[in-house]
């Protein structure tokens, strides 16, 4: 059975080893079928290292999502509710570019900011979970803001005078419109979580993929693929998909609970 735990630290094998060590390496062909079995075995065995990696993956991505949501939802809603926004097109273009930021570029940027010579070097965050959360927050934030903005903007603009006529305060109007846009807001949250949990470039650079400390599912997949353990890498990939699926399912459930039941 494949195991991620190791009593001794395993250095990254050189690339040329792939295929040479029959006990560790798989043939890429035919591994997809085995991956599912291996993933189930890994989960069922309660592999300590896997659980640590899974836990850290959720910790980093959910923390980044929380920070991005706390900042991004009010900001996106405000942008969506503002009629006269100077340089609206430019702001939107910048934001939409941010939605497609290459993670490795964000990683490099955060790395430079946090490196000893960088402006935030004194924080000593590099190669820690905090650096990883910071990088994923930067990746998630434009998605939360941009998609919330679009969702709020798509709500019928005539709803505002109607709510005003029904006696709503400004705050109540904003809250009601945000709730009307809930499907889009939920999509913003889901997209931001997806971007955070699936990226590898940023966490690899600023976290360093240190076993037991900053290794998450995506960086573990890169490592196991380099080691030639394709079935294990696929199994980790399946775990990642499963985690993403469960989180999205939970998000949708939370959204549905606030939606009225259908009549028919």
């Amino acid at each position: 059975m494949a195991r991620l735990s190791s009593s001794q630290p395993q250095p990254n094998p050189p690339v040329e080893l792939i295929g040479e060590r029959a006990d560790l390496n798989d043939e890429p062909s035919g591994t997809l079928g085995r991956a599912l079995i291996e993933a189930l075995q890994l989960l069922a065995s309660g592999d300590r290292a896997l659980l640590d990696i899974l836990g850290l993956t959720l910790e980093v991505s959910l923390a980044a999502l929380l920070i991005a949501a706390v900042i991004g939802l009010p900001l996106g809603a405000t942008l969506g509710l503002t009629n006269r926004l100077p340089l609206r097109g430019l702001v939107r273009a910048v934001l939409y570019t941010g939605m497609g930021l290459p993670p490795v570029v964000v990683g490099l940027f955060v790395y430079l900011l946090l490196s000893r010579a960088g402006p935030f070097g004194e924080l000593d965050w590099l190669f820690t979970v905090r650096a990883m959360v910071a990088a994923q927050t930067i990746l998630a934030l434009p998605l939360v803001v941009g998609l919330t903005w679009a969702a709020v903007e798509s709500v019928d603009p005539e709803l505002r005078p109607q709510l005003l006529a029904l006696g709503a305060t400004r705050g109540q109007i904003a809250a009601t419109i945000l709730r009307e846009a809930r499907a889009g807001v939920l999509a913003a949250i889901a997209a931001a979580f997806g971007a955070a949990v699936s990226e590898v470039g940023a966490v690899m650079l600023v976290g360093g993929n240190i076993e037991g400390q900053t290794r998450v599912l995506t960086t573990a997949i890169v490592l196991e693929t380099r080691r030639g353990r394709f079935a294990l890498a696929c199994a980790l990939g399946l775990v990642l998909l499963l985690v993403s699926f469960v989180i999205n399912l939970a998000l949708l459930r939370a959204g549905e609970r606030r939606t009225p039941a259908h009549a028919d």
Binding site: E158, P161, Q162, L163, L164, A168, T176, P260, A263
Partner: protein, 244 residues
Amino acid sequence: MPIDPVLKLTDLQRRYAGRLVVDVPGLEIRGGELLAIVGPSGSGKSTLLRLLGGLETPDQGRIFYRDRPTVPPLPLAIRRETTMVFQHPRLLSRSVSDNVGIGLRLRGIGRDAAKTRIDAMLKQVGLEALAEAPAQRLSGGEKQRVALARALVFEPTVLLLDEPTANLDPHNVSLIEDLISRERRQRPLTIVLVTHNVFQARRLADRCALLLGGRLVEVSDTESFFQSPADARVTAFVRGEMVY
């Protein structure tokens, strides 16, 4: 019926891009009356109504609410005594009862107290069977009944109706008109109804006003408005002979 003016306009003007769309030197709306404002499309009826509801700010002039001059944005307490039903009901994508209760929730009325009032109101508008249905799935007539119910449920002092039946079939028009009449019999409610339908004005209103090019041509009791109007333009309009 109380006669004191609930709403009074003085020297009211509103311009769009320099063009004068409302120009009313004076108008008093009496407590408990139903005043119908008729006029062709683009005559400024809806703008006048939005000014009365505090949804627009006049460029000049004042609106008095029970002799208190109001300066937009209107104080919340005054705004919450007035409400408006629009031509197109803008319903929330929630259940029918949630939509009817929105005004109560905005006023911080507790869930239980609200439910009693919502249920009673749904019964009044004949939608109790659809209470939990998604509002977006209702027919046009049902939606407008929800819009009327959510305006009446918090018992406003002034109800502003902007062409509330313009998109409805005759059956639904008469349902809405019956609801308005029934509500007026139950409690003192001041209504300003904007309509291009002179027959509706004649059926419902205590007084009628003709608005042309943003100006009031004549305001008089419904009977004299239709039987013996002072202005020839009123005669032409009510007979459908006006060319505009």
